[in-house]
Symmetry: C2
Subunit: 430 residues, 2 copies
């Protein structure tokens, strides 16, 4: 029977919004925001979008009017009462009241700040200026909007029937990956796929698939809204923006060398337990571990992000052993462009030698590779990164020179200060 009300309601839609909730973001943005709220409320930081897949001229396939509509809509969204209640009342990582009353009050009044948008060489130059606490909140929604608008543009050309086959194939693909995951002993895996997802509903489906297929081996999702609605764990810790801003603010080379550790000293005052996972690669993992203070070896774990994962994990094991820790009690989280083959390979190498966690992103929530002609739905490598802090350029080097960010002279200075040696460039797929 026809539901006339629904039909008419749909006709009245002005846009079909991509971001419908402030919680449609990654959990670690809230954790980092609270740290920024406590310690750096007045710091001004600029974020900007960078499409590393230069061959795709994003401005040719995403309409600027639609992009503005979606960004503007996201700016209109505030925390609902139920969402606030969930953040205040829920247990995260085994802890109640993870977010302070002061931070919650701020968040309840928060709206995403203004943006600057222009087109250069077929790419969108989308920039966010303002207090770090505000601009940081754009990262995930801005990326999700760009990725979903691009997908919608491709899907618009497909018939209802082609769409059905496309999603049948997408679902089959995800489920076949999950069936392979089921065979891995002591698996612990989470969805990290918000920012580069195909779309919100698809990410939501992937989370349901992971839960149905993996049960307890599925740890949860980084997406707060899905975590709330589906009653799964919200997961995540911290990202490169913290050491990048702390480093940009350092007054001299000595302060710069201390900056990445100062981040973690602050972090461990704010959080504990499984949230104490260091991200060592911002200026090269090897130098970071060599110069790390002793107290860091007491941390729960490490995130292996830009380094080749087997090499990165082996390096962490060797470091823990040198520092007198038992790696089997330590957690290594792998999260860099993983697909099922990588996960199997990593698990085969490290299972029994480390506690392992996987943060599975783009190739969980956006793997339609080859399902539309000319790869027009293949995921792209697009990021939203800190560009400057208080007028000083931000720098990221990582373990993979393909991912380096910042002016050349500053990259050289950071390389010198952090003792970054020769690095091998790895291809960046997503």
């Amino acid at each position: 029977m026809l539901d006339l009300a629904t039909r008419v309601h749909n006709h009245n839609f002005k846009i079909d919004p991509i971001i419908r909730s402030l919680l449609d973001t990654d959990f670690y943005k809230l954790l980092m925001a609270q740290t920024i709220f406590r310690r750096h409320r007045d710091t001004r930081v600029t974020f900007g979008i960078q499409n590393r897949s230069r061959s795709l001229r994003l401005a040719d396939v995403v309409d600027m009017g639609e992009l503005r509509e979606q960004l503007d809509h996201a700016r209109s969204v505030g925390l609902s009462r139920g969402e606030s209640t969930w953040l205040r009342g829920n247990t995260f990582y085994g802890r109640r009241q993870m977010f302070s009353a002061e931070f919650m009050e701020w968040l309840e009044g928060f709206r995403l700040p203004d943006y600057e948008l222009e087109v250069r060489d077929g790419q969108y130059v989308l920039t966010f200026h303002g207090p770090w606490l505000e601009t940081t909140m754009w990262e995930v929604p801005a990326l999700a909007i760009l990725n979903e608008l691009r997908a919608r543009g491709v899907l618009r050309a497909l018939s209802k029937f082609e769409l059905q086959v496309l999603y049948a194939r997408g679902m089959t693909r995800v489920w076949e990956k999950i069936e392979r995951l089921k065979r891995l002993p002591e698996l612990s895996i989470a969805d990290f796929g918000t920012r580069r997802r195909h779309g919100y509903l698809w990410q939501d489906w992937c989370v349901e698939a992971m839960r149905a297929g993996l049960g307890e081996a599925f740890l949860g999702t980084s997406n707060c809204l899905i975590a709330m609605r589906r009653e799964v764990e919200a997961v995540g810790t911290n990202a490169h923006e913290l050491p990048m801003v702390y480093s940009a603010l350092a007054e001299d080379d000595a302060a710069l060398a201390r900056a990445p550790y100062a981040v973690l000293a602050d972090w461990q005052q704010d959080y504990a337990g499984n949230l104490l996972v260091m991200l060592p690669d911002t200026y090269g993992t090897t130098g970071f571990l060599k110069n790390a203070p002793d107290w860091l070896s007491a941390w729960t774990g490490i995130r292996i992000d830009s380094k080749e994962p087997i090499a990165g994990g082996d390096e962490a094991i060797a470091w823990w052993l040198r520092r007198g820790s038992d790696p089997r009690e330590k957690l290594a989280i792998f999260s860099d462009g993983l697909d099922i083959d990588d996960i199997e390979r990593i698990h085969g190498h490290f299972h029994g030698r480390l506690r392992i966690g996987y943060g599975w992103g783009t190739l969980l929530t956006n793997d339609f590779r080859g399902l539309v002609a000319e790869g027009r739905l293949d995921p792209i490598s697009i990021v939203c990164k800190v560009i400057e802090a208080e007028g000083r350029p931000a720098v990221k080097i990582s373990d993979n020179p393909s991912k380096a960010i910042g002016p050349e002279a500053e990259v050289a200075r950071y390389s010198r200060v952090f003792g970054v040696g020769v690095q091998e460039a790895l291809p960046v797929v997503v």
Copy 2:
């Protein structure tokens, strides 16, 4: 928004009927019914269900109460006004008014006759006694009901999510077959999958997929209801029941030897053109062709059913050549348990040497093989065949002894009369 009316309406469902229309049957049943109506209105014929997949105890997996409900519901269904209009007004095989006014009047008043149902050795013994014109109409709905009830029983144990993945996989599988079909030159293929389908909605989806994927290469469907609703061609010609009944009624061996040709003599008075497709295998193809009257070589084509398809097609080519016909102007319809591999193989062998048509049945509309544990959704080989006519046993020999039907002594007599030589048994999958 919730459509309360739909919800409440669904609550009020007594059963979810499998057969909702008298047209939910194969087109050739209507063609044969009209011939029976004209020539054999008073002949009494018994049909019965036979599950050739003995290892599946159908009565253990299909509830008898539900089976009775569905059979009784099918008996309550009559031709609607719109359906009658479609049959009267439509063009079938290029011809208007395929069905006479007298036949249509009969069909408009027709309801499926009574049935007898009991369980023996874990199998349903489902039998239809009465006028041939009435009992013949049970074949397709009875089989569709049994197959769909079996599938529903399996599906009942699956969660909503598992169902979604199951259908995603099923769709992907059908679509991958269609993509292989697309590559075959001058393809002409039709859906023959009503009787052993997974379910009505699934068959409907498969027809849509075939049309979307193949365009003009998709000839149509044997299912009248889907043909009407989707506005595609209704296709089919005739089946073994005609020679089986004509033969059972033969008074002596000489009449028996003439019976299969008498069927076709009647048929060509009733129909023409692409409906003149002989089915030569009821008592062995080789003998049938050897003894065929000359006028049969003028027929449009042949259906290769129980014989190994390459051998069957080669035999038909040789026969046409002997009779002075050009095989390239003749039509061979392949329809026996085909899957995509068979179709590719047949096409590779015969393309350019014959006009080829494929009647694709069970492995189009019911291929969920391996998608549920223990093959519980794998299709079964179940048929509804003539058992006797006017109290005399009906016999089928075919080219595959695994498919023989009838009392041993009668099979021996038929084999002698029709000169059936040594045959090789082929496995019957569906």
